[in-house]
């Protein structure tokens, strides 16, 4: 593959995605390495992974273990997590 070819295609971004609680059960997995194309925000990632699933409750987002708004940008190597409202304490 030449340098010229590299620049013609948007490279797939490698990110780690975690799911917790009811979302983990719904998706049948707690963690995956995602090779995502055409995503820029954490909400783009959510739309990609939740396609085809019926998620009825509120979903919270985090990037690198900090809460993130839907429009927060993700970059290669980030750890993104999706989870329902918290119920500790």
């Amino acid at each position: 593959m030449t340098q010229a070819n590299d620049q013609m295609y948007e490279e797939a971004m490698q990110i780690k995605v975690l799911y917790f609680a009811s979302l983990k059960e719904l998706f049948g997995r707690s963690e995956e390495q995602l090779s995502a194309e055409g995503v820029s925000t954490v909400d783009d990632v959510w739309k990609l992974v939740s396609k085809g699933y019926d998620v009825s409750h509120q979903v919270l987002y985090s990037i690198n273990q900090e809460y993130a708004q839907a429009d927060a940008l993700v970059k290669a190597g980030d750890e993104v997590a999706f989870f329902p409202p918290v119920t500790g304490g």
Partner: protein, 150 residues
């Protein structure tokens, strides 16, 4: 200090040993603390057990951040936060939040602030095992949302 533990803890023993170890004799005039304990009833159902899931890494970071925010807002000498994870039984302590300060206003307000932030934002999730009834076998249920303490 922030601790996440998979093993049952005794809040009074933890308070006693932490208070001795912190070596603040004569400095603190106030300690306000809160202990959350698992009940055997929730929303009208008998609860036999509970699984407490958390997000390792983010949980600790978030709790440290809450404590830091409290220290910026009130005059605090020491804090202790312990939260249980894993399989719990009714009457097991779930959470302990303790604040030591010179004067009582700081301890009262900071301990409640930390507890409310923990309940609304720290990444923990509870799944209850409900008692079986005549028609249905034991089933599990995720707790959907914490209510506000204010």
């Amino acid at each position: 200090m922030v601790k996440i533990t998979g093993i049952a803890f005794d809040p009074w023993e933890e308070l006693s040993s932490f208070q001795t170890a912190m070596k603040r004799e004569g400095e603190y005039g106030a300690c306000a603390n809160f202990v959350g304990t698992m009940r055997d009833m929730n929303e009208g159902d008998v609860v036999n057990g509970m699984f407490l899931e958390h997000y390792p890494g983010m949980t600790e970071k978030h709790l440290e951040k809450i404590v830091q925010a409290a220290k910026e807002q009130w005059d605090i000498l020491e804090t202790l936060v312990i939260h249980r994870v894993g399989e719990l039984l009714p009457n097991d302590p779930i959470v302990l939040v303790a604040v030591w300060s010179a004067h009582r206003k700081d301890a009262f307000e900071a301990s409640r602030f930390i507890m409310e932030d923990l309940k609304s934002k720290a990444p923990f999730w509870k799944k209850e095992s409900l008692e079986s009834t005549g028609q249905t076998a034991e089933k599990n249920r995720w707790v959907e949302k914490n209510t506000s303490g204010y």
